[in-house]
Every structure is written in C-alpha cells, then in structure tokens.
C-alpha cells in the first residue's frame, strides 16, 4: 500500500487553475521532492496534501484512506513551514509538545518523545528557550522537531531551507537526509532549488504551471529528461541547447548537451569563442559562444583558457538529447 496517492487532483482559485490533473504515487519510506520554478503550484500541492486547501477535484489518499474531507490534524501528517511558524509565546519544549497534548498523548510519553527528538536534533540545551532567543538554524531544527515528535505517516516540508544561509543550508540538508534514514519516514519536500532536489530525493516530481512534467529518480531525470524544461531545470550549470541544424542541415529539433559532456577536441564539430572562464579549482567552467548560441563547458581540473580564445568542442553521440520544441 502506498503512503500517498493523488488521483487527478485539480485546484482552482477563482478562474485560475493552479493544479491540473495531478496523479502521483508515493511509496512508504520514500523521500519525494516536488521541484519547479516559483508559481508552479508545488506549495499549493503540498497544502492540498496537508488539507490546508481543499482539492477542487480529484482524490487524495494517505495510507490508503481517502482524506479529502479529513481535517489536517487527523490526516497523520506533520508539516514544516518555510517561515518555521513556531509559536512565539511557547518555549521549545512546549512548541514540540503542543500537538501531542491536543491528541491526548500521556505526559510520560510526551516527555519521552520530546527528549528523543531533541537528542536527535541537538536541541537539549534550548528546550526552555523561546523562539525569539534562537538563531535561524536552531529555529529550523525546532520546526523539524515539532514534526518528528508526532511520528506522522507523512512528513511535509515546505522549502525548509530557504531562509538559511548557504553554509547552514548544506549542513541542514545533510541532517534532513540523515533524519530520513533514521526515522525511515515518508517525506515530501518542496523546493525550487534543483541541488536540494538532486541531493535529497529518492524520487523527484518536476512541476511546471500546475502540471507534472516528469517523475523519476534523480538520475533518470538527469539522464533521460522527458522534455526541454526538465532537461534545463535539473543540473548545474544548466544543459546547453543548440539547434540541431548546426550539425545537420534541415533538422528542426533542438539538441541538448550537458556541460560536462562537452570536451575539447581539435576535430570537434562545434567551433566556439570563449567569452568568460570560471576557475573553480576542481572544475573549470568555460562560457563560450557557438555562433550566437551560448554554451557552457565544464572541464575537470584546471585549464589555461582565456577569453576570446577559439576552441573546438566535441561530444559523444550517445550523450546528446533531442527535443522537439
């Protein structure tokens, strides 16, 4: 039985369609990431799953039960909000235990679960503090702790890292991945950041304009993108797109090549002029122009390439992608 099933879910606000015909299966213990540009409906979808918004049409099943008309607190979910949404007038321990008190869990068990969560998230020293006395990273951990203590069937995380600075984001990302393994929980994670999606997910759902563009494991999506949008959205630096007519006259398709699949080759088919070079130490990113089309070449190691230099680029035939767009 799957942890979450969405069947033909639609959501409209007035006349605007925010979600169109979304059908997704999430297996138990999976880490699923909804990713897409802002305004694609991924947060709305999460809110529909949580029960904070009603689906305009379609069915939502959690753990095999139809939950369309079940209130959020009875759905067996816990949610982590982008703004943390900690109760400002309650200390950390009370923030975490409020939902359990509402459920009528016994005091001893509440204490045990809070202790367990705080140990897992290194919050032991802060249990008596109020949210205003915590740093951003600590608040985020409290927000996650508040979800963990409920032992939900489904964790919903709405861009939990977007308010953290870059360094903290990387370490918290790792913590969330570890937490997922420790708890063996089903998690649904919303983000607009493809790196978070690629690093965390067992399964990625790419959304655009309220539609599912593609569902699959990170590597499936990376290696076999269903369309140009998915291809361009996942991977950093982004995939290069060139008209196929550059290689074969009369071909109307678009050809996509990942930056790391391009290499320097004296007999390569693409002639490029270097515009800018990013030396990252381990990698060198060369931004160049093939005719009027900008391409990025990602070279391993350090290379002495200068702007305005002429290069010949080659690629393996099986590494190219064709798109009819």
């Amino acid at each position: 039985m799957s942890a979450l099933t969405l069947k033909n879910v639609f959501k409209t606000f007035g006349t605007t369609e925010v979600l169109r015909d979304i059908s997704i299966e999430v297996e138990k213990g999976e880490f699923v990431v909804f990713v897409g540009p802002s305004g694609c409906g991924k947060s709305t979808l999460l809110r529909v799953i949580a029960g904070l918004e009603d689906a305009s049409a379609g069915e939502v099943y959690i753990d095999g039960n139809l939950v369309n008309s079940v209130p959020p607190s009875k759905r067996g979910i816990a949610m982590v909000f982008q703004s943390y949404a900690l109760y400002p007038h309650l200390n950390v321990a009370n923030n975490m235990s409020l939902a359990l008190k509402q459920e009528g869990v016994s005091k001893a068990e509440i204490a045990e679960r809070v202790q367990e969560a705080s140990r897992m998230l290194q919050l032991d020293d802060y249990l008596k503090r109020y949210p205003s006395e915590l740093s951003g990273g600590q608040r985020q951990r409290v927000a996650i702790g508040r979800a963990v203590v409920r032992q939900p069937k489904l964790f919903l995380l709405d861009e939990p890292l977007s308010n953290l600075d870059a360094a903290l984001r990387v370490s918290t990302r790792l913590e969330i991945a570890n937490l997922h393994k420790q708890l063996d929980a089903t998690m649904i994670y919303v983000t607009h950041d493809q790196t978070e999606a690629m690093t965390l997910a067992d399964k990625i759902v790419v959304l655009r304009d309220g539609r599912v563009e593609q569902v699959g494991s990170p590597m499936e999506l990376y290696n076999k993108p269903a369309n140009k949008f998915v291809a361009g959205f996942l991977g950093s630096p982004a995939m290069n797109f060139l008209p196929a007519s550059l290689l074969e006259a009369g071909d109307t398709r678009t050809i996509g090549i990942r930056p790391e699949d391009l290499y320097l080759a004296d007999d390569g088919p693409l002639a490029a002029t270097v515009q800018h070079v990013e030396h990252l130490g381990g990698d060198t990113n060369v931004i160049a122009f093939v005719g009027e089309h900008q391409v990025t070449v990602r070279l391993f190691g350090q290379h002495d390439i200068r702007p305005r230099q002429e290069l010949k680029l080659g690629f393996d035939a099986q590494k190219r992608h064709y798109f009819n767009e």
Partner: protein, 279 residues
Amino acid sequence: MNKARTNPVSAAAMHGALILYTLIALFPVFVILINSFKTRKAIFREPLSLPSSDSFSMIGYETVMKQGDFFLYFQNSMIVTVASLFFILLFGSMAAFALSEYRFKGNLVMGLYLALGIMIPIRIGTVAILEMMVATGLVNTLWSLILVYTAQGLPLAVFILSEFMRQVSDDLKDAGRVDGLSEYTIFARIVVPLVRPAMATVAVFNMIPIWNDLWFPLILAPAEETKTLTLGSQVFIGQFVTDWNAVLSALSMAILPVLILYVIFSRQLIRGITSGAVK
C-alpha cells in the same frame, strides 16, 4: 532620522515642544488637584496658588463622601467601563478574526458595514436607543449603558484589530491547524496573544470616553442606584450655586481609576503604537 536624533539643537527643540505640550495638557489636571484641597474662598481668591496651611481644607472630599452614594457611583462607573471594554475586546476581536482569516462571500461588504459605525456617531440614534431600552425594560440598568458602549466601541475595534490580525503569519495559523488546534484555540492561543498591543490600544481609546460620558448615563440610567461617577458629580453643580470644593474633589477622585487602568494598558500601548508605525 538618525542625524536628527543626534543633533543637539533639534533634540532640544523636540524635547522642548514635548515638554511644553505636557505642561499644557497637565495644567488643568494640576489646577483641579490643588484646588480640591483648598477652602472655597481660597479657590476664588488665588486659583493658581498651592494650598497653604491657611487655605488647606478637606471640606470638598468630606462633602463628596457625605452627600450621595459616591462609592456606589464609583462602582457603577467601574462596572460599566470594565464590562464594556471586555465585550468590545471579546466581540471585536472575534469579528476581526473572522474578517481577516476567512474567505467568504460578502467578506468585504461585511467589513465595511462593521466599520460604518466609525463614521456615524452613535448619539444620533439616542431617541431610538431610548425607545428600545424602554421596550426591553433595560432603562435604569447598567446593562443599558454596557450595551450602548459596546456598540459604540465595536466598529473601531473591529477595524483596528482586523488590520493587525492580517499581519499575523498564515503559516502560524496553519501550523496550529496541522497540530490539531481548533479554530477557537488558534484564535485564543495564537492570534490574540500576538495582537495584544493592538487590543490594549483599542482598550485605552475606548476606556476614557466611556468613563467620562455624561450623555448616556443621563438619558438611559439616571436613577440613583445606577448613576455613574460623572453623572453623580453633577449634583454639586447647581443652576445658581455650585459647590466647587465638592466638584473638584469628585473630579480628582475620578481621575484615579482611569490612571490605574491606563498604567495597566500603557506598556502594551507603547508597543502597539510603534508596531503599527515602524512596520
């Protein structure tokens, strides 16, 4: 803004203006207080001088204590003010929560309707109110005053509180919903504590006019046992003779409870004003 603050000349000018305003505002209160401790002759001979050993007299306070049931008036005023504030804050915040939180048909129209009372003074309806109170048998009860003052205070309360409640983060309310709090609990345990400064502001704005009102007590509850302090003090003001000692003493004592209530609310109030302005 920072420059103006550090500049000593403008700082002095600013403080000067504020001190001047404070003096002007406090002067009548000061005159009332000092004269309430003087003999009748001294009040008229030198109204601005402090009570001396010659002119000092408690006669005003003695008159007030003897004549009329001053403590009953006091109690009536207190009951009316506190009960009205309680209902204004209770119903005002509940209406504000509904208006700010729920999308329903006619939300905007309902908000405008509730705010209409800000523009129309309730005294225009005095005759109708009196007729209603007579019909319901509430004349000469404290309830008549409490009901009228609650109605009078609600529009502004709903207006101010709904603005503040809109600023409370939606995520916070949703977190409450996911955690299994009922809408009432979300209102009482999350939203109300966060808009407490705004509620204190509303309380102070309503408290003073209610405490000082003469109009409705005179019309709706003039009976001896329901007289408020302001109305009770009127017995000392006659058409031909006014017992100034008693009037001034009564007024001095009437200041006290408002002062105490104000101090209770004021800490919240300051935060309320700045949180609205700086945001």
